[in-house]
Amino acid sequence: MNKVPNNKAWWLVLPVFILVAFSALIPLMTVVNYSVQDIFGPGQAYFVGTEWFEEVLGNERLQASLGRQFLFSAAVLFIQIPLGIGIALMMPTTGKRASLCLILLAIPLLIPWNVVGTIWQIFGRGDIGLFGWGLNQLGVDYNYTANTGDAWATVLLMDVWHWTPLVALLCYSGLRAIPEAFYQAAEIDRASRWAIFRYIQLPRLKSVLVIAVLLRFMDSFMIYTEPFVLTGGGPGSSTTFLSQTLTTMAIGQFDIGRAAAFSLIYFLIVLLVSWLFFTAITHLDKQK
């Protein structure tokens, strides 16, 4: 059969290209423009060159907020990925119990961010919240509005509660895609439970884990609403993450030029880390 090369199908990509241009490319170009100017209002912009970048790079408040952000994202990945895999492994595979588990797991994912923040804000209070009150009754000096450690623990716990189900659901779907024959072969070889996990389940989960790690990293790296509602970034600035610092700068202080320079650096960090994750995990695959 003679194949006729025909590349007309590329035209079908055009709508997506236009959409991306409007939703990403044009805003990005605008932000780059803003980042080299001092803007006082419409028509009142003065070119300042790289001044904002220099200032942002040397700003200690931003550096501290960046450090906290990395710590938070690392903690999120460190807790949620193993926990999600564990939950997925323990879930029943068939019948009504499986459906029930899936529904229960999906509930936190359906709750809007600011509601999650409000729930935990009340839940953690020492006077009317079950969690805070319970801990205080047990003799634990818990107060998330005053102690840095407690604030961090509450924000982390909230994020774990909200997003571990996503990791668990992804892993669950990955596990269901493993053919039964693999387990039968393992049984014939008298493989231990650990060996089955290490040599059958984990390698087969790799592709869903790539997505889980990427989604959780990006989401936790741009977290805003939940800590904003729960702690407002406090006590002090101990739970003020990058996006909150950025919002305060851009909208609170209307410092658009500096905020634009800051968001470009933020963007470069996210781009680099996401690319590193993606490359590391996809190339692990090829080496085998």
Binding site: Y34, V36, I39, A45, F47, T50, G58, L268, L271
Partner: protein, 91 residues
């Protein structure tokens, strides 16, 4: 219509150069399609991968010059151009 974008000449030149690089790379790809190969980078890469790595690292090179040194950014630009060329050829 685009007044709110506050275009400045240096930024316009920057994006024009990026667009030109993409066009040139596309034409080059059509004229002589590249294959994935392994250079001094720890992973096998295509030409497009190397360009992406080059542009991203160049951004960091410029930020480092700005944040850590008092040197002119023109030097950073020169370093970046040499670095991207090395990366495309031997990376």
């Amino acid at each position: 219509m685009i007044a709110w974008m506050n275009w400045t000449l240096p930024v316009a030149i920057f994006f024009a150069v990026i667009a030109a690089i993409l066009v040139v790379m596309t034409v080059y790809e059509v004229v002589s399609p590249c294959t994935e190969r392994k250079g001094f980078l720890p992973i096998a890469t295509t030409r497009g991968d190397r360009l992406f790595i080059g542009l991203l690292t160049s951004a960091y090179i410029n930020l480092m010059f700005l944040g850590l040194t008092e040197l002119s950014l023109w030097i950073a630009l020169a370093v970046s151009v040499v670095w991207v060329a090395i990366l495309l050829r031997w990376g």
